[in-house]
């Protein structure tokens, strides 16, 4: 906060206006911070549920993979995995949440699996595809939490800076200027009184 201080009533009024603006900005930032905390908490809750379900699915896929590998050998699975030529298509769209751009992942196209793999491998491929969809949701949520948390950190710094530095700084400055302005008003008043008295005395002497 670098301001060239002028000890004037006009500047004091300007400072008071600024302080009121800074206070409302602080209130807004505090509201934003609370909202961000709420968003993060609910996202963490959702992430926990999604993760638990995903871990269960991955465990299931890994178990099936291990069993198929034991039954048919690694070569069979490696070679079968090469049969898929289609690519997964996803679209990442930014969404604005409280001024933060968070990614929303939209699945445009998932490869068609039916009839593309040998029948004994198709079940595993189907399950792995399901896991991929869940992985995307988890990644989306994790990115959301990460970005909002980063913004929350910045918001926190701003709220603290306003609370601890800027607002007290303004308040001090206002106090200092208003002291000086009051002091100067008093001096002016006394000066006027003295001048007035001197003028009255001169007028009485002229009359006499």
């Amino acid at each position: 906060m670098s301001l060239s201080i002028r000890y004037t009533r006009g500047f004091l009024l300007d400072l008071r206006r600024r302080l009121s603006f800074v206070r409302s900005a602080h209130d807004l930032l505090e509201m934003k911070r609370d909202q961000e905390i709420k968003e993060i908490s609910s996202a963490i809750e959702r992430l926990r549920e999604l993760r638990a379900a995903l871990e269960k699915k991955i465990e299931d896929v890994l178990r099936d993979l291990a069993m198929l590998q034991a039954a048919y050998g690694s070569q069979e699975l490696i070679s079968a995995s090469k049969l898929m030529r289609d690519k997964i298509e996803i679209e990442v769209i930014p969404r604005n949440v409280m001024g933060v751009n968070v990614p929303v992942v939209r699945l445009v196209k998932l490869p068609e699996i039916s009839g593309k793999y040998p029948p004994h491998v198709e079940g595993l491929a189907e399950k792995a595809r399901g896991v991929f969809e869940d992985l995307l949701r988890v990644a989306e949520l994790e990115a959301f939490i990460e970005l909002i948390a980063e913004d929350l950190r910045r918001t926190n710094i701003r709220v603290n800076a306003l609370e601890k530095v800027i607002i007290p700084g303004y308040e001090n400055m206002i106090k200092r200027i208003s002291d000086v302005v009051e002091q100067s008003a008093l001096e002016d008043f006394i000066r006027v009184k003295l001048v007035k008295r001197a003028l009255e005395r001169r007028r009485e002497e002229e009359r006499a």
Binding site: D64, M67, A70, A71, Q75, K82, P118
Partner: protein, 304 residues
């Protein structure tokens, strides 16, 4: 993966015929390759002892490993995999008198690979088919056609048992295809194209009829002899089908009372025993690699 557990597995096999093949292996891939090489070497030794019609038949029968290789090459070519990656997974079937695989590995695309396979004169691939599963089925059809042809030519007393053994092998492959494909809701026309003609087992006509009905439960009802096998698929245990299939083959081979002390059927039985041992060891290595629970590990073994 617990590498120390895999080391224990390798140590456990020290002093056996496998020591030479897997000692020094660091990864599961290396162990699997070593075990496969051991199997092929044993089969090659067996083949080298055979003569005449028996040798031709055995060479054709062991061509199933070459067919597996060709199916893998087809898939990898479709996936545009590098030649080195392909070489890493192949079984050394040239030792079994199979075709030279190098020209196939060097084929620049699927069409070139198809041409190279056709040129060998051993396999007949559908001209218009570009579905890899259809091409794989063509390979297997050619393989079994050759095997059955040679089986009918060899003069052995236990021809009936040999044909029964081959027929059972094809039946299990066909039923597995039908069951899994129907469970996954495949088009019946596509399923029918994947079936292999079996002159010593379930006629194709009968299988096609069931496929047209499209209900996996009908398959179980119609082929009660294979009820336990087919029900594994109903329980969503695709992997268990493979083990159950081998168990059925082994039970069949063990149940045959062969009249003569020296019988050709014993050779097929021996090949099956080698295959079972290979599969068991591979399954144990994979189970150790994935740290599967003991209860599951036992279910992976093909025992008496």
């Amino acid at each position: 993966m617990s590498s120390s557990a895999l080391n224990q597995f390798i140590e456990g096999l020290s002093g056996t015929a496998y020591e030479h093949y897997i000692s020094g292996s660091k990864t599961l891939d290396e162990i699997e390759r070593g075990l496969a090489e051991a199997l092929v070497d044993r089969l090659a030794a067996l083949l080298s002892l055979a003569e005449g019609g028996a040798r031709s038949f055995l060479k054709a029968y062991l061509g199933k490993y070459e067919t597996i290789n060709l199916a893998w090459i087809l898939r990898m070519k479709i996936g545009e995999s590098a030649g080195e990656e392909l070489e890493m997974i192949l079984l050394p079937t040239e030792k079994l008198g199979g075709m030279e695989l190098k020209p196939l590995l060097e084929a620049r695309d699927l069409q070139a690979l198809r041409d190279a396979i056709q040129r060998s004169g051993m396999y007949e691939l559908s001209k218009d088919a570009d579905d890899p599963l259809q091409l794989e089925a063509d390979l297997w059809r050619s393989h079994y056609r050759r095997v059955f042809k040679l089986a009918s030519r060899i003069r052995i007393s236990d021809n009936r048992e040999v044909r029964g053994f081959l027929g059972l092998e094809v039946d299990l492959a066909n039923l597995k295809t039908c069951m899994l494909a129907l469970l996954r809701g495949w088009d019946p026309e596509k399923v029918k194209q994947l079936l292999i003609f079996n002159p010593a087992g379930i006629p194709l006509k009968k299988l096609r009829e069931v496929v047209e009905e499209g209900d996996p439960k009908v398959l179980v009802e119609r082929f009660r002899r294979f009820k336990g096998f087919l029900e594994k698929a109903l329980a969503s245990d695709e992997w268990a089908l493979e083990f159950e299939g081998l168990r059925i083959m082994k039970r069949y081979a063990d149940s045959q009372r062969i009249s003569k002390f020296i019988s050709f059927f014993y050779i097929l039985k021996y090949i099956l025993e080698l295959e079972v041992e290979y599969r068991n060891l591979r399954a144990i290595a994979v189970a150790i690699h994935h740290n599967l629970p003991q209860s599951l590990r036992r279910s992976l073994l093909i025992t008496d």
